[in-house]
Amino acid sequence: MRTDELIDLLGADTGPVGKAEPARRLALGAAAGSVVVLVLVLTWLGLRPDLAAALAGGFFWIKAAYTAALGAAGFWAVERLGRPGVSPLSAAGLGGAVLALFVVVALVQGLGMNGSARLIAVRGVSWTVCTRTIVILAAPILAITLAVLRQLAPTRPTAAGFAAGAFSGGLAATLYGLHCPEATFVFVALWYTLGIAVSGGVGAVLGRWVLRW
């Protein structure tokens, strides 16, 4: 086929394109994924029994703000990495700053404890399942986000995959907070962060293969 003929064909396929289309598609996908995760939390894990009291307290919201902020940085990075010629550094900077701030607070908390209290804080009641559960919960959102990203134009597949994983992990961890009763900076900084990071790693590996176009 000659290039002129192709251009005629493409001209015949021209219709108006909406503004901020990538963000819209990613947000719709994330909303659909969140519904799936919410159903999983309600049916598979169950709400934490003291949810009403927790909602009235401060740490529930601090934890939610931390994971949601990481998720938001991930979303921002995904949206930018889905568009050619746009740098994701601002989004990465936000994610890094949120992470650093939370880790510093957790270090202060952890170092202020004596040895046995610190061990109790590190282990909480669910350290053996927390990270794994977050990674599992992130999977539906990650799958949808990668599918949407494939329709965008990620020119850096590994980075875009990592951002998709971090975004999915952050969102999943926030919803996981409805189930998980852990309430120390130390625990969240360790196991929640690890869950989000692993999800990012899974996204990076998948992205390398899936985000080709």
């Binding site: 290039t3 396929d13 394109v17």
Partner: protein, 179 residues
């Protein structure tokens, strides 16, 4: 460079608003630029260059929703062209590693026009009959989309959807052709 940007960007903006003529003109100007760019980067010859030009044009067209109107157009288009070039090299490496009989390929290679792409022609031949007929009617016969649709028993809206699907499929099959 600035001149290119100031020519192409308004065309892109009009195209995004649905102006088919501006969009086709943009792709025409861009194809010249891409041909020069890939020609400098590839030693393989005109057929490969044209394949890459066509693959990039398809990508630019199908993924134009990822262009932000506040962004320089040339930066966006260049990032796509560069990605397609790197992707081409990556796929070539896989291909070279596979056992290949060069003589057979040499003898089988048909003579080609300077601006004709082989991969796209091959991809077109793998489309479902209905989509292929629609593409052929618009491309070769120069029929309008509604006329071509009517020939295939499709409403204009259905023809539009079918053409868009066909183009997406073509873009995918073009990449597969290298494997």
């Amino acid at each position: 460079m600035d001149e290119l940007e100031s020519t192409l960007k308004p065309l892109m903006l009009d195209g995004l608003d649905g102006d088919a003529q501006a969009h086709a003109r943009l792709l025409k100007l861009l194809s010249e630029r891409l041909r020069a760019y890939f020609g400098r980067k590839l030693s393989a010859g005109p057929a490969d260059v044209e394949d890459l030009v066509q693959e990039t044009l398809l990508a630019v067209h199908l993924r134009r929703a990822t262009y932000d109107r506040a962004q320089p157009f040339t930066a966006w288009a260049y990032a796509i062209a560069r990605y397609k070039l790197i992707d081409h090299w990556r796929r070539r490496k896989i291909r070279v590693a596979a056992p290949l009989d060069d003589v057979v390929e040499f003898l089988a290679a048909p003579a080609i026009d300077a601006d004709a792409g082989l991969d796209l022609t091959r991809a077109l031949s793998t489309l479902p009959a209905r989509q292929r007929a629609l593409v052929e009617d618009v491309k070769v016969q120069g029929l309008s989309l509604s006329e071509a649709g009517r020939r295939g028993g499709l409403s204009e809206g259905a023809a539009k959807v079918a053409l868009h699907r066909a183009l997406k499929l073509l873009a995918e099959r073009m990449r597969d052709a290298d494997r």
